[in-house]
């Protein structure tokens, strides 16, 4: 050994079988589903560690790309390695440069994957009644969740909403995965004309729901949490904040969340989320640092 050749004496968490991996993945397929793209990526080792609610961060372009920041996507499905390598599936809404680049990939293209990331949905220990509410591509992580809930003898009632039928994801699959399915579209092209919170109060009452899981736009999460809280149910929300690193090192992805000690802190949604107890998120204060937040001049309690 020459001087300066560092010798690793300690195993990293990834080597110890926990935490996220960084994998040079290969696109297996890209399929159009309504307005979305369903990507299946061969990325060994990620499936075995994934739990519903985790996400992956994908790099855009090759190693000279001018788009440096990774893009975050909820994990829709995973398959552990079998005859083929393990796969990760995501649902992409193409709008900006990163999502458009991903949507235009072909079989065998390379995509670097970091994951699984973030805290997954908390699962009930008892066989309770659950509602799973998804907005647009936000339904993607709910199918794996429904499966886990039903393994625990919980019921899983799904409410899926979108602006139009083309933006509704997984309504057909929901029929298989869920105990019941309710669909809403803003334009009325399919299901109830309206938004997910329209049928939600009745559904929560009829099935005596204990836990409401939700994933979708922030406005929807806020509204769903308020309906759930009124009904006396727990709510678990998967939020979407702009992220630069996805792994907890940059502090860009923060939002104000109240801790068990009643103090509001700016917490990183990539590592302490993306799943939060809905009633702990200061939805009204997102995009601000509300007065009294820990680390503003005087830390104080929530009024």
């Amino acid at each position: 050994m020459t001087p300066g050749t560092a010798v690793s004496r300690r195993r990293t968490t990834a080597q110890a079988g926990r935490g996220p991996l960084q994998v040079d993945g290969e696109v297996f397929s890209v399929k159009r589903v309504g307005d979305y793209f369903h990507l299946t990526i061969v990325a060994d080792g990620i499936a075995e560690r994934t739990r519903p609610g985790n996400f992956v961060a994908l790099s855009v372009g090759d190693d000279t790309s001018a788009n440096l920041l990774r893009r975050a996507f909820s994990i829709y499905r995973v398959k552990p390695a079998g005859i083929y390598g393990g796969t990760v599936e995501i649902i992409v809404a193409a709008h900006g440069p990163g999502t458009s680049w991903l949507a235009s990939r072909h079989r065998h293209d390379r995509v670097n994957v970091v994951g699984p990331l973030g805290r997954p949905f908390a699962l009930p220990k008892q066989p309770v009644a659950c509602a799973l509410v998804g907005g647009g591509y936000g339904s993607a992580p709910l199918f794996g969740l429904a499966e886990k809930l039903r393994e625990r003898s919980c019921t899983a009632h799904m409410v899926l909403g979108a602006s139009t039928e083309a933006r509704l994801f997984g309504a057909l699959e929901a029929k298989r995965a869920a105990s019941s399915v309710t669909v809403t579209t803003v334009d009325g092209s399919v299901g109830i004309k309206g938004v997910v919170t329209d049928p939600l109060p009745t559904l929560l009452a009829r099935h005596d729901i204990d836990v409401v899981y939700s994933c979708g736009p922030m406005g929807m999460l806020r509204a769903v949490t308020s309906v759930a809280t009124q009904h006396g149910a727990w709510s678990q929300t998967a939020v979407e904040e702009a992220m630069a690193c996805g792994v907890g090192v940059c502090m860009t992805c923060v939002l104000p969340v109240v801790g068990d000690d009643n103090i509001t802190r700016m917490v990183r949604s990539c590592v302490e989320g993306p799943v939060f107890a809905g009633d702990k998120v200061r939805w009204d204060a997102i995009g601000t640092v509300p007065a009294g937040t820990y680390g503003t001049s005087v830390p104080s309690r929530r009024p």
């Binding site: 001087p3 300066g4 560092a6 996220p20 990774r70 502090m251 860009t252 995009g287 820990y294 680390g295």
Partner: protein
């Protein structure tokens, strides 16, 4: 020069009183305090881990959005969110030491008294390889003007830190490129007692959102970083190395590969830091070490230190 095999290259680096296995570090604010990156590679393999600038008190930082992607870079306006020095010393620094990492602790103050207090508390903690002084902060005692933008104020902050840091713990001053003459600031902080320099911090920038027709970042302006700023950083290293020969310089700004790191060594940096590119590739700091080793070998440099400042030498035969 004849090519060597990468394994034959000696990467050991001396920066004032700090002796490092290799010249590659993380950049402050891009690696937190090492724990998250340790999921991807062993942080003890790095020359040093430079921690996120810590202030005396806990800080909530700025409102979101805190970042915008820009061509080959990004803008950030984090506002130095952090746990404060007490929590840092109780939790983060011990973790780095337990994992055999060499910590360089970045400190940031909003007054001279705060810099001095941080210097005492960090400098007296065993195991700290060096202090990095982030002077790109507003001075509350001087109408909020940024220390780094005025040679006199910059020197006062650095002097306050040096005075209260034990001998044997080197103090590096990190300079802002947003000044008329970076050489002038470099001279002032070296005179104030700095043991070396870190060049450069981010450049002030802005992005306007075409949907809202307003600045996108919660803080309005933000710091520009990433490969887009690399030529600015190389220029700063070059100018300061030329004006102050022999001063230890740590180069930072847009380093993505070993070749980029080598460019900084040739310009006069003895060590380098990898920042924004970590967000693209969390294993980047370790990858850069291996690539730098190979890039030095190909060019026949037996030691990393042989490449430091090489670009300043006149070409053989020229006058």
């Amino acid at each position: 020069m004849t090519a060597l095999t990468p394994a034959d290259v000696d990467l050991t680096t001396v920066l004032a009183d700090a002796h490092l296995d290799n010249p590659v570090m993380t950049a402050s604010g891009c690696a937190a305090a090492g724990q998250e990156l340790h999921q991807f590679f062993d942080v003890s393999e790095l020359g040093a881990v430079v921690t996120k600038s810590v202030m005396r008190d806990p800080r909530s930082g700025r409102p979101t959005p805190r970042m915008a992607e820009t061509p080959s870079g990004m803008l950030n306006s984090i506002g130095l969110q952090g746990p404060g020095i007490t929590a840092f010393l109780a939790r983060d620094l011990p973790w780095l030491l337990q994992h055999d990492a060499r910590p360089i602790v970045s400190i940031a103050g909003s007054s001279l008294g705060e810099y001095a207090e941080l210097a005492r508390r960090v400098g007296n903690t065993p195991g700290v390889a060096a202090l990095e002084v982030n002077i790109s902060c507003p001075n509350v005692e001087n109408r909020g003007s940024v220390f780094a933008c005025d040679p006199f104020q910059a020197a006062r902050a650095v002097a306050a830190v040096r005075r209260d840091t034990p001998r044997g713990v080197p103090v590096f001053a990190k300079l802002s490129p947003d000044v008329t003459s970076i050489v002038e600031v470099a001279e002032a902080v070296m005179e104030a007692g700095a043991d070396g320099l870190v060049l450069i911090n981010t450049l002030l920038g802005m992005h306007i959102d075409l949907t809202t027709l307003r600045p996108l970042l919660g803080g309005g302006t933000g710091g520009l970083s990433g490969p887009a700023i690399r030529p600015v950083a190389v220029r700063a290293v070059w100018q300061v190395a030329a004006a102050l020969p022999g001063v230890p310089i740590i180069g930072v700004g847009g380093i993505r590969t070993g070749a980029d790191a080598l460019e900084f060594l040739l310009a006069g940096a003895s060590a380098v830091q990898v920042g924004t590119v970590i967000f693209n590739d969390p294993s980047a700091p370790r990858r850069v070490i291996a690539e730098l080793r190979a890039d030095l070998a190909v060019r026949g440099f037996a030691k990393a230190s042989d490449a430091v400042g090489f670009a300043h030498r006149s070409t053989p035969g020229s006058t």
